[in-house]
């Protein structure tokens, strides 16, 4: 259990959180029309007569959008409803030309599922925790409004109107901002593995409606508020913290929380009430008469299941079973691109543990310095496997490997070629190493005395000096053995 609480004047308050995440489905065309979905096009160029709600136009669902929602449902081990239906959610707004959004209220495509957020002691999540997911339904996105382009007018761009969204509705199972943050990150990771949403929160591909209420531990749920369209993990966490504190302050000063929709203002880091009309939520849902029920057969579902990749939890378990540390397994599985790159490295013959250490330290370090993503890494998995192979078979030491890697980044050449050209091959020539050891010990007679007098930490110093004298090319194991003999 999370022990996150809000400390009020009357004691500690528990926070209850549920999230509705809107994830844009990755598809070429829109949910019910053939217009394109690409981000950033000229205004109103990706709008069909269907999306503009011209009279007489009929919606026809895009098979790929349905398929991606089903695959997402399978990835959270949810029940898939072979019979679902579209409903109209009626309201008037300038970004909604139809006057209704086609959604699924009564019979969603995907039913009950769950995902697991990993234990994170530092974030106050002591154990793995399962977060329930109530449903996923498919619906249309609305258009975009711009208010700052004209003194008296708002501008409407319908490019986004009709793009397919999955609304992923969690159970009110989260109890702290950290848990909610972990949930969004895990959900984003799963969506990106599945390929059903690019998870790009900056471009609005994923946004969350954040439901927050507070209660004294053990009490019934309190009244919740819903903060709409929060578009980053950090903001989700900030909304929860701010809103929980506001509610506690309100209740303790004698007020009551009103069930309402709120907006988050990132500049002020506060939420404020949307002054909506009281009947704004009277959506008068009814089955869309333009659309027959959506019926899926077993062949369709089988194909969806067969096309699912290995998912983050399974991948992490596999990495752990191969001896990779929990920390490295988390880092490597969080982003699908890193996991794919790492799997390619293993396939090219690299040893899991050494490869994991190298990727998380050397490669990520280099990419960070260069400001590049792993998807445009200057070194391919095959080239990296060659480098790691040279370390594994003793051709070069780990220290030299770092130099070789730098050269690979500079020149684009292969590891073996660089080792040959620069004469970096590691030597196990005991004669040469012994000669250098003798010189090092002679030059540091005082330290040899101290070492023999019990200051064993100096051993590392002798190793370092010998390696330096050998220009890093001595086999460290041989150096260790010979030094022990010489000092013993």
């Amino acid at each position: 259990m999370s022990n996150y609480t809000i400390k009020g004047e009357t004691g500690e308050w528990e926070v209850v959180i549920g999230l509705e995440v809107h994830a844009q489905v990755t598809s070429n065309a829109k949910l019910f029309s053939g217009a394109a979905t690409a981000f950033g096009a000229e205004p109103n160029t990706q709008v069909s007569l269907v999306d503009a709600a011209m009279p007489g136009m009929l919606p026809v669902p895009n098979r790929e959008c349905i398929r991606q929602a089903v695959r997402t449902g399978m990835a959270i081990e949810a029940e898939i409803n072979k019979w679902s239906r579209f409903d109209r959610k009626n309201y008037f707004y300038a970004d909604l030309p139809q006057g209704y959004q086609i959604s699924q209220l009564y019979h969603p495509l995907v039913g009950e599922g769950s995902l697991t957020i990993a234990a994170d002691e530092k974030a106050g999540i002591p154990t793995d925790k399962v977060i329930g997911i109530e449903r996923i339904h498919v619906e249309q996105d609305a258009g975009k409004l711009m208010h700052d382009q004209h003194p008296t007018m708002s501008y409407v761009d319908l490019n986004r109107s009709g793009v397919a969204l999955m609304e992923i509705v969690s159970r009110p199972d989260m109890r702290s901002p950290a848990e909610a943050g972990a949930y969004v990150r895990k959900l984003r990771s799963i969506l990106r593995y599945v390929g059903s949403c690019d998870g790009n929160m900056e471009e609005g591909s994923m946004r969350a409606d954040v439901n927050v209420s507070v209660r004294k531990p053990g009490d019934e749920f309190g009244t919740r508020t819903e903060t709409k369209n929060v578009n980053s993990v950090r903001f989700v966490m900030a909304v929860i913290e701010g809103e929980a504190k506001r509610q506690v302050g309100l209740i303790e000063s004698g007020g009551t929380v009103v069930q309402e929709t709120r907006l988050y203002d990132p500049d002020r880091n506060e939420t404020r009430s949307m002054r909506s009309k009281e009947d704004a939520h009277d959506y008068r849902y009814f089955p869309d008469p333009d659309l027959l029920p959506l019926e899926l057969d077993d062949a369709f579902l089988d194909e969806c299941r067969a096309s699912l990749p290995e998912l983050p939890d399974a991948k992490r378990a596999r990495y752990l079973s191969e001896g990779i540390s929990a920390y490295n397994a988390d880092v490597l599985t969080a982003e699908v691109e890193a996991a794919r790159w790492f799997d390619a490295l293993l396939e090219a013959g690299a040893k899991p543990v050494a490869a994991a250490n190298w990727v998380t330290s050397e490669l990520f370090g280099a990419l960070n310095r260069m400001g590049r993503d792993i998807s445009d890494s200057p070194v391919s998995p095959a080239q990296a496997a060659e480098l790691l192979g040279l370390v594994a078979d003793g051709t070069i030491s780990g220290t030299i490997a770092k130099q070789v890697f730098e050269k690979m980044l500079e020149t684009g050449d292969g590891a073996a070629a660089i080792v040959d050209r620069e004469g970096l091959k590691q030597t196990s020539d005991t004669g040469a190493i012994e000669a250098e050891i003798a010189k090092v010990l002679a030059a540091n007679a005082d330290k040899v005395e101290q070492y023999k007098g019990g200051k064993e930490a100096l051993f590392g110093f002798f190793v370092g000096q010998t390696m330096k004298a050998m220009q890093g090319k001595a086999n460290p194991q041989v150096v260790n053995e010979l030094l022990k003999k010489a000092l013993g």
């Binding site: 053939g34 109103n44 895009n62 959008c65 382009q149 007018m153 409407v156 319908l158 029920p293 019926e295």
Partner: protein
């Protein structure tokens, strides 16, 4: 099920239709008449009968995920889309400012 004038006014307001009191009174009678007529369906015993979603055997068709395959349901027709707009602005629809 019967509706009163307050409900009529609420439905009208949700549908953004302005109606006078006289119209609301007339509408109350008309809507109750329609509802009463439809409610006759409740007299039929449908125990064990599956709800019907279409009067002819018909399956929902799905489209392939192809952009602009059919010009009638594809994009790239901004001039058509904006042709009836009262105040188009630089490729956008211009509408009275709607911001809370």
């Amino acid at each position: 099920m019967a509706i009163d004038q307050a409900t009529v006014r609420k439905i009208a307001s949700l549908a953004r239709i302005a109606i006078s009191d006289a119209e609301a009174a007339a509408m109350e009678g008309e809507l109750n008449g329609i509802l009463g007529w439809v409610e006759q369906l409740g007299e039929v015993d449908v125990t064990g009968v599956e709800p019907m979603t279409a009067v002819i055997p018909n399956k929902l068709r799905l489209r392939d995920d192809v952009i602009d395959a059919d010009p009638m349901t594809g994009g790239n027709r901004r001039d058509d889309i904006l042709a009836n707009a009262p105040a188009p602005q630089h490729g956008f629809f211009g509408v009275p400012k709607v911001i809370e």
